[in-house]
Amino acid sequence: MPYGVLNSIQCRMIAHIARHYDKGYCHFTTRQNIQFNWPKLEQVPDILAELASVQMHAIQTSGNCMRNTTTDPLAGVAQDELEDPRPYCEIIRQWTTLHPEFDYLPRKFKIAVSGSQHDRAATQFHDIGVHLVRNEHHEIGFKILVGGGLGRTPIIGQVIRPFLEKQHLLSYLEAILRIYNLLGRRDNKYKARIKILVKETGLEKFTALVDQEWQCIKNTLLLDEARLNEISTHFTLPAYCHHDAAYDFSALGTQTPAFATWLKHNTVAHKVTGYRAVVLSLKAPNTPPGDLTDQQLDAIADLAEQYSFGEIRSTHRQNLVFADVKEADLFSLWEALQAQHLATPNIGTATDIICCPGLDFCSLANAGSIGITKEINDALDDMDYLHDLGDIKINISGCMNGCAHQSVGHIGILGVDKKGVEWYQLTLGGSSDNDAAIGERLGPAVAKEDVTQAIITILDVYASQRAEEESFLTMVNRVGIEPFRERVYATA
């Protein structure tokens, strides 16, 4: 799904494939893509043909190539946006698709683009991060980061070019890719990502190599104004209705507190008066995070058409977004989403967990992740307590490949195998936002049966020791992990 965008027709096709070729559901991933876990091998050509009928494919979703370009799920509607990043995502999507030179790289390669002050695309943890920025002459261009990544060796990306003129976007990417293709390690796949090349070469030398290459090609691969404008015409604003003022929810909120709660937690301010973006929670208590049934997908397609110009977006936190919903429609949309179990008001809370398929589906996993998520959900069933705890990101991966980004979770949970038994390492203080950080290990791994209690204890330490208005992450950064360590290992 290019930059996580899906239209309602495509959404119905995903439902159809889930129904006819899989076990009636699909899984939304942190890559803003979709996984089917049970298709029969001999039916894959039929699935691909069905996808192609709605302009979808599975090209470059695997292998050592450039993968799906990801971005902010609020692109084009976010209030803090400098410029809509989607035209640049599309330019990169086109350039990366079937690129003849860079399809057999040392390892996979991921590019993310952000157009906002608040980085909602985890660009600091991508092989290349592209940030729209304004320079001292008030021109908009790109800050380019390189060498970020998660997985076995989480590394925060470094700025390789503070300001790149728009016209040079592709030539600069090409220069980075060529240097990586030629010099990236091919002797050990665990050391083959660009982050290792940047680390071993040193940023200064790597930058010099890229610049030297770039000087040779920068004038041969220019993005001219006409091309940029042409691409931008595909991302025009939908036909918004004019509203003089924001909708007054005070009466509805008083009559229906549950709606008010959902409105507060699962909707986001929009740059157009009278509209909000809605986050559909794929984190209902009894469902594996990111999973949707065929019936839910059909319903989402209908609701998207009815309420949000037929467009659905996926987020890297494994939820969906309707980006353009009239505030006046929110109550009826909420009722419809509730009926589909898509309105759990837990966005941004401790049960909005990123979770990989883990041992249940994945051949790489060392430990289960879905079961742990369910246990945490069961233990945190008090919504008022969840909302009181506020913004807490828990990420759970079933192995050190880290598909669920556990190293950048405020609380990270990593499944490890110890002599055939599932254990879990806990980390605190990670973040994939602007204040990017790798979580610090709390202590020795804990046994499976103790994980949930450890999480409850961590949250309890926060609840009892936080300063006023202090978020979980801020407190961890202030006090360090010691108070948490003390309590978790005292009770374990």
Binding site: N64, P100, F102, D103, Y104, N181, R186
Partner: protein, 146 residues
């Protein structure tokens, strides 16, 4: 032995001579290492000269050979090693090499189209592969963005 060159099947007149084999007259391919060691005598070779380039070889080591050679043979030992693709691109675009760039060895049929797009104009598949089939792969994709 045949190869596909510029969309035509032709007989391969080239012989690769390993570093311990005596240089003979005729069209010969030698390693980048041998070029480095014997470049003075090789420039007076009777017959055409070509260099077999491994993915691990440095282009910088053979740049001075380009005026003297008719063929650069990108010898692919592992189809996943994409350095050959950048080598081909650089030879054509950076070094303006006008001679034959050949792909040989263990490349995949699926890679023929990509190799052609980065500048390869001759294909010599491994023994047992039908060189005639390579023609069909040249245009696997009728459109492209780049």
């Amino acid at each position: 032995m045949q190869l596909l060159k510029n969309n035509e099947i032709i007989e391969n007149t080239w012989q690769y001579l390993a570093i311990d084999q005596v240089i003979t007259n005729g069209d010969i391919l030698i390693s980048a290492q041998r070029w480095q060691q014997e470049k003075t005598s090789l420039t007076t070779h009777t017959g055409q000269l070509g260099i077999r380039l491994l993915a691990s070889d440095q282009l910088a080591d053979i740049v001075d050979a380009l005026p003297h050679v008719a063929v650069i043979d990108l010898y692919i030992t592992d189809f996943t090693d994409g350095r050959s693709f950048s080598q081909a691109w650089l030879l054509r675009h950076r070094y303006q090499f006008k001679g034959e760039i050949r792909a040989s060895g263990d490349y995949l049929s699926d890679q023929v189209c990509y190799l052609a797009r980065v500048g390869v104009n001759a294909f010599q598949p491994n023994n047992g592969c039908n060189v005639k089939k390579e023609i069909n792969y040249l245009n696997d994709f009728s459109v492209h963005y780049q």
